[in-house]
Symmetry: D3
Subunit: 153 residues, 6 copies
């Protein structure tokens, strides 16, 4: 376990690591039962856009990752973007979050937090319209920068 | 959309609702590829317990739900418990979170946030051991209290 | 000075006050020089709504009032709504924020913080389009509840 | 709208921008009706200084700008100073806030948030002494650093 | 261990407990080596009062106790007061913090956090004037309310 | 007073200081009366480790130092470790916290906050087992980096 020293949790030392541009992209999907999907589509045609609210919540959550995840380093994020897209065929909204930093550690957790909180925010706004929503498949899609080089799911 | 008034997002008025005891339980699972599962098992036999860290992170996140989810009401939570259990057969750690409040709104979102952040925290601590982890199936398991009565998935 | 005891600042004791429904409405306006106004109008016709972002930021800020204003009591807000309206004739966007609580103190500061942060958020999104914006006239419009009864500006 | 990409809000990418010393100064004024002004003057002659409390609240708020303003970048501020001055002739307290950073983006929003929260904090401490206070003229006074060079109102 | 269930930490259930007025008072002292004491006394005779800054920091920290102490319940504090007093004879500043709430749990931790953060804040402001300061004797002085009745150290 | 300019508190300008690796170590001890010590030892032999919870709380608090201590600069901490050790002979748990940063100011306050919050967190978990605990001797043990060079208590 890299996050433990002699049995105690530790925010590991990265002071010797180089400051490089690092980016990560993650996704999270909210599965919508039929009545909830119908409500979302009806609402989206009126004024008021719950997906836009969820995207913004994701951006703001990314900036608080080090408060939520105990052993994450605080990072001066240089970019955060979250996009939600409704796939009517499969009845889901898929949020994709990209974070970037010039720093000593990667931003996977920031991207994962952003995508997760976006999905949960949409859940909150739709929960009056039906039970049974599920946040599915929160995962990393790609990362670049740092010693280990680029990676893609 | 209940969370919009004339196109603007709103934290809906609950001032007329009764203060009742409300409880919700949610879960979230982290799927571990074989090398990561092996590392977790090896680490758990040594001192230092990443699942305990994740549980604690979930408890703390529950208390910050209204900061993360823009239209959630701040609630004086009266109980939060998060438990993570490793299921070796399916290679996953499943976090179950229960929140309780005496208040005017339910605590589904608090339980979902707690379970999600617990899973993401474990992800953070295990990510040095391998790629390909997925947070799967974050969902509500049950809720009680409030006008709509008990519900179970 | 009601907020000082023997020269030390104090969050004054409200434990003897009754829990009543209290509401307050405040406003804040952002004055837009002509080029900025033009950019806002051009952007609003495309996808992406900066006023909606500002409204949401105001709602979220209201919930953090007691963190920002040192002697404010933490309050379980039961409603927050923020609306921004563009008045092209006078070149301003006026944000109106309403907060409600069942509690021992009023919510004037919450409404004022919500309106102010909404105006500042719009400022942030428009500042690339020109200098000279001003946040003007942040003030209370009305309050109800509590011992002192209703008040209107 | 620079803060939107294909209709979604985004915290824009600044990773290619240079780290330079940037500074901004903003002001915000609280207008005091006569009874409130009298109370402030009476209090200031006793022990306990509400303007000092407001200055400190402004400094602390500056550090939280990126939590309040959704699309602001987190910045490692290297200086924050807030000064409030009572102008008896015009019945107002004017707060001037200066922020500095070595970073990739400017600190206008930090200075504006600091000045605004200082004015709102004084409002909170004086509101028991009379109705009708107004926060007026929150605006940028000057900025230096960055590609666009120095600017002065 | 009351804060553990089957080995997992838990924010214990207080939903069945009565809402009563509860108060706690705690203290924390900062011991000042002679050169630091001299600097404090010299500064206090000029404008600018570091003890007042520390008192305010303590008040603000009390409101964030449930964010800092993982298993503390969020509480709607109804009063917080912090007072620092210089005892020249023993070369220390002693901070006394009192918190009050109408709630289901006591406010010992809130009072202890307030006194501790006040002492640490003064430490921060004086540390340029000499080494060797110590925060000593942070402890509860008294508590009232709740099932266990009044207690005094 | 270095933290005041013309009587107003200020977060002092460090923009001209060099970015160097800086480290600080601080400690804080919780003194346990006999019944509390007995409860801790009994609990530690069962599942559930309150010292581990306290260590984690200390790590998380270190990251929020600039929110708690008004005139502290926000810092991108590159390492935080907190270790608690029970000394049965003297009936105390001593927490030692080490923080590291590559930055313009030292991390004494971060280490002191981490150690203090760890001690207070253990206090919270043990307070049901007896009165009379005291947090004693919170102090700096050593620091390195920066213009003033290494220092050791």
């Amino acid at each position: 376990m890299t996050h433990f020293e002699d049995g105690s949790a530790v925010m590991v030392d990265v002071s010797e690591k180089a400051d490089t541009v690092r980016e990560a992209t993650a996704c999270s999907s909210l599965l919508l039962p039929a009545p909830v999907l119908a409500a979302l589509k009806a609402g989206a045609s009126a004024k008021g856009d719950p997906i836009a609210v969820a995207e913004l919540a994701g951006i703001m959550a990314a900036k608080r990752t080090s408060e939520l995840i105990p052993l994450c380093h605080p990072l001066p994020l240089s970019k955060v973007a979250v996009r939600g897209e409704l796939d009517e065929a499969t009845g889901r909204v898929r949020f994709t979050a990209t974070c970037r930093v010039t720093g000593k550690t990667g931003v996977e957790m920031e991207a994962l937090v952003a995508a997760s909180v976006a999905a949960l925010t949409l859940y909150d706004m739709l929960k009056a319209h039906g039970k049974g929503m599920v946040v599915a498949e929160t995962k990393l899609l790609s990362k670049t920068g740092g010693k280990s080089g680029p990676w893609r799911a």
